[in-house]
Amino acid sequence: MHELSIVAGLFETLLEQARTHGARKVTTVTLRVGKLSGVVPELLESAFDMYKKGTIAGEAKLWVVDIPLRIRCRACGTESDIQSWVFLCGACTSPDLEILQGTDMVLERIELETDDPPAG
């Protein structure tokens, strides 16, 4: 259960961004979570709800986008998603693979409310 320490790190970035952009409120937070990121999205959500209380993101909604584990075969160049945890190329079964995405957790975007007059 290291989701709490990940969310603690997330909030450092989040609050910094909110300050930079003069936010009054953070309304949504979108994370991209790889299949091999090592976190459980549900636990991330619970940790987020616990952590947000009393912050500028107190009413923020968390969106977690699941990212599949995508690889490129170094032998035949084919790109495919890893299924059932078998790390072989889907086309030629080579084990010589480069992981393209699906190992990280990324804070993709946040939606803020500011005191600025509406644009346009």
């Binding site: 994370l31 975007r109 946040i110 803020l112 007059p117």
Partner: protein
């Protein structure tokens, strides 16, 4: 009032990765092979390190960083073998992070050749945190069962070496060693597998020979 959509694209483990990369750079430059050991509690990490210590201390300089939630016990066991050891107690956290290693590093003597970092016993969380190691070893002990690799995929896909430990118990357990190996290799075809018993000493010399080969590669990386 206006709404703003801000694209951030920040890696949530970015800070840890950066500290780990700095540690790796420094240790490799100093010719120190850093090894991160992962397993569930009780798989035999400390016992394996004791066995490595009694063999390696004659010819090489090694040191150990121990990670646990509480107690100094593991570091004491390693020191009893005549090897310097530092204990990190996380006070509840389920894994070590690179910044904890960075704090201990200044105490590691400059002539050390092998630095072992024993992670908190846990097959889940430690897998997400690089500590600056050049080599990651995951242990799976035979009493845990041969079906574990795919239940804990990240630990096995991010490791370089799998140690199947407590091999002396194989005659008494329904552990299918070929199944465990096959499953681990599906997850990670590059995994080097060693079958080890810290009781009989089986496989320990082979593992040490592999580690010393890895250390030589560090010293002549761009030959």
């Amino acid at each position: 009032m206006a709404t703003k959509d801000v694209i951030v694209l920040a890696d949530l483990l970015g800070t840890n990765k950066k500290i780990a990369a700095d540690i790796r750079g420094e240790l490799e430059r100093r010719g120190i092979l850093a090894v991160n050991l992962l397993s569930s509690p009780g798989a035999g990490k400390t016992t394996l390190l004791e066995q490595i210590a009694v063999r390696l201390r004659e010819t090489s300089r090694m040191a150990v960083i121990e990670g646990d939630i509480e107690t100094e016990r593991d570091a004491e066991r390693i020191r009893a073998k005549g090897v310097p050891a530092w204990q990190i107690t996380t006070g509840g956290a389920c894994h070590l992070e690179a910044k904890m290693i960075a704090k201990v590093l200044p105490q590691v003597p400059p002539d050390v050749e092998y630095l072992f970092i024993e992670n908190v016993g846990n097959l889940v969380c430690p897998a997400s945190y690089e500590l600056g190691e050049s080599l990651r070893i995951v242990l799976l002990s035979t009493p845990e069962g041969d079906d574990k690799p795919k239940k804990y995929p990240k630990a096995f896909t991010t490791s370089d070496v799998l140690v199947l430990s407590k091999a002396d118990l194989l005659p008494y357990l329904p552990f299918d060693i070929e199944r465990a190996k096959a499953e681990a290799l599906e997850l990670n075809p590059r995994l080097r597998i060693f079958i080890v018993s810290a009781v009989t000493g089986q496989g320990v010399d082979e593992l040490i020979a592999f580690l010393s080969e890895k250390r030589r590669e560090l010293q002549a990386p761009h030959a």
